[in-house]
């Protein structure tokens, strides 16, 4: 089977450690997104898999074979580039045929393949055009076509949708996903757009400063971010992360744990994961609550946080509320029918089971 396996993969550019001991496995048929802010090493990792960048250390295995020392042309890996990288002097059909020539296929075989691919990607009408005569969406489809036209061992995509406008982006997302599902090959997609990652990936590897912070399914990444970085990076609007002091963990109803915290002099209690019991009382923690995990409640009571409404941002079906709680900014999403006035004091209650507690090192406590 043709899986991709990275072992302790490292890339150093002079003094810069771009990729730092990355371990990752992508199974056949699996779509893995490398997600992270710019400069986190995700593109360098992709280029090393492709063979366009040499690895300083570690192993790259494709289908069980170490390919570190193979040049790109011998790795049989297909890659789609951010700026498409279509060959400007060739027509669409010639662009699609280019990788096939290198494989030494006959004219009829080539035409057959081109016909197949152009049908899948709806390129039949533009085969005779040159890249500069194409729209962004068409260029993107040709680029995808060029990578699926031959039978590579795996697929790599570098920011595949970043150049498209929102509408085309949604269309292409679905189209690429459909195409990828039919191919039983490992796929790696590099993106800085979490929506893209969350919608297209089977699993996501979140990267920061050359290291992988977490590899998980989109759901797990969202529900159990391993640390404050991942928690803050995944999800829009961003998760509220507030520093607090753990006072005590009590027994809640039905054997659940209930944590009491001090937030800037105010006390706050909510259901927490049982693992929080192991944290020392009086220790520093970071509380994470997603904006959609807050509900408005009348102020007062120890389960609500008192905050002042500072700004209301309409987001269509929802309102994004910016609230000030003793100087720190909290975000909360409510339905657009909610009646609120700027300046009023409201209470925020966390939905049960949706409070994330991170220890003093920023790691999730479960």
């Amino acid at each position: 089977m043709s899986e991709i396996r990275l072992q302790q993969l490292t890339k150093r550019f002079q003094n810069l450690l771009a990729v730092d001991r990355v371990d990752l496995e992508v199974a056949p048929g699996e779509v893995m997104c490398l997600l992270g802010p710019s400069g986190c090493g995700k593109t360098t990792t992709l280029r090393m898999i492709a063979g366009l960048e040499s690895a300083t250390d570690g192993n790259i295995l494709i289908a069980g074979k170490r390919v570190n020392d193979l040049p790109a042309r011998e790795r049989n890996v297909a890659m789609t580039f951010q700026f498409y990288a279509l060959y400007p002097s060739l027509t669409v059909a010639e662009n699609l045929a280019y990788p096939l020539h290198a494989d030494g296929l006959s004219r009829t075989q080539i035409n057959e393949r081109i016909a197949q691919v152009s049908k899948v990607l709806d390129l039949e009408g533009i085969l005779k055009r040159r890249p500069h005569q194409l729209g962004e969406g068409e260029k993107q489809r040709v680029a995808v076509g060029r990578s699926i036209v031959r039978q590579p061992t795996c697929f790599l995509f570098d920011e595949p949708l970043s150049r498209l406008d929102i509408q085309l982006r949604q269309q292409m997302r679905t189209q690429i996903k459909e195409v990828l599902e039919k191919l039983d090959k490992p796929t790696v997609i590099v993106t800085h757009d979490q929506i893209e990652a969350l919608t297209m990936a089977d699993r996501i590897a979140v990267m920061r400063d050359g290291r992988i912070e977490q590899v998980a399914t989109p759901h797990d990444l969202f529900a159990y971010p391993v640390n404050t970085f991942v928690a803050g990076f995944i999800g829009t609007p961003q998760m509220n992360l507030v520093e607090a002091t753990l006072r005590a963990v009590e027994d809640g109803p039905d054997g659940t744990a209930r944590g009491r915290f001090d937030l800037l002099g105010e006390s706050f209690a909510a259901r927490v994961e049982p693992g929080v019991r192991r944290l020392p009382a009086g220790g520093r923690v970071t509380l994470g609550v997603r904006p959609r995990s807050f509900v408005l409640a009348p102020p007062g009571g120890e389960e609500t946080l008192r905050a002042t409404l500072d700004l209301v941002e309409p987001m269509g079906a929802e309102l994004l509320l910016h609230l000030l709680q003793h100087g720190s900014d909290l975000r909360c999403v409510v339905r657009h029918t909610t009646r609120v006035t700027v300046g009023e004091t409201v209470g925020l209650r966390c939905k049960p089971g949706q409070l994330h507690v991170f220890d003093e090192n920023g790691a999730l406590v479960q």
Binding site: G51, A72, R73, F83, A85, Y87, P88, R146
Partner: protein, 290 residues
């Protein structure tokens, strides 16, 4: 408010068009003057004020190739056919050679930089930093030692070397401006380095090569100093022979000289004209970002 005719943006009015025409005429006037003189008889050519209306004659063009050199003698071939051939052959060969070698070198400098790449590039250019007349003494000696004086190989080699720095620098800048992703894509698609160069990079710099070609042709076509000292009677180029034609028993024959000049600029005009679209794209290369 008085209504004013609204003009489409990007369209010049008559005033500006005429202004531009007048200015370009000033630039073009010397050339025009030479072409007119080429068709004038000797007395028309010397007439003052300048005659703009005259009966044209082809006699000057005929005398370029056949004329009476000894008083009372018969018209003889002047050998200009050979000199034109020499100019075309020497210029064309050396410019093409410089372009081929220069393109390979430029690709190397751009894609496979050496340690101290910039130093090499600088050193290449130093040969063009001094006036040719300074370099002529050692070159003259070299040519005599190696028996290259007066040979085609000698002058072609010299002109090739003379065009190389410029070709390397110019073509390198075109390669530098290319999108590297495209080359990476080709590598991933199974291309060897040679194929990346030949099929992906080279076609994208054709416009730049054309621009380099035209500039090199103009420089070489008009070169005088080296040609004067290093060509022999059989390999002499047109600029040298033009100078030798000035003078004579009856003073300067302006009509004859102008006819020579007119014939002399034709190849350059043709080359430039044929490549003008490429040339425009070439000189604006890289100024428009994707």
């Amino acid at each position: 408010m008085a209504s004013r005719e609204v003009r489409a943006i990007g369209q010049a009015g008559w005033g500006r068009t005429l202004g531009a025409a007048a200015i370009s005429l000033i630039y073009f006037f010397p050339v025009l003057f030479i072409i007119m003189t080429a068709f004038k008889t000797r007395s028309d050519a010397l007439a003052w004020p300048i005659k703009f209306i005259f009966t044209p004659t082809l006699s000057n063009f005929i005398s370029v190739f056949f004329r009476v050199t000894v008083e009372g003698g018969a018209a003889e071939a002047t050998g200009f056919g050979l000199y034109f051939f020499n100019s075309l052959f020497i210029g064309g060969t050396s410019v093409l050679l410089a372009l081929i070698i220069g393109t390979s070198a430029a690709y190397g400098f751009s894609r496979f930089p050496l340690r101290g790449n910039d130093t090499y590039l600088f050193m290449i250019l130093t040969t063009r930093m001094m006036p040719p007349i300074i370099a002529i003494i050692p070159i003259f000696v070299l040519f005599n030692v190696f028996g290259l004086s007066g040979t085609y190989i000698g002058i072609i080699a010299l002109y090739t070397a003379f065009n190389l720095p410029f070709s390397i620098w110019m073509v390198k800048s075109f390669f530098d401006d290319l999108d590297r992703d495209m080359e990476d894509a080709a590598r991933m698609d199974g291309s060897s380095e040679w194929k990346v160069f030949r099929k992906i990079c080279l076609p994208q710099v054709y416009a730049g090569l054309a621009a380099t070609f035209v500039f090199a042709v103009i420089l070489t076509w008009n070169e005088f100093v080296f040609a004067l000292l290093l060509t022999g009677t059989q390999t002499r180029t047109v600029p040298v022979q033009i100078v030798r034609t000035i003078g004579g028993a009856l003073g300067v024959d302006w009509g004859l000289l102008s006819a020579l000049e007119t014939l002399f600029i034709i190849p350059v005009v043709l080359v430039t004209f044929a490549l003008q679209n490429q040339l425009l794209r070439g000189v604006t290369f890289g100024t428009i970002r994707r």
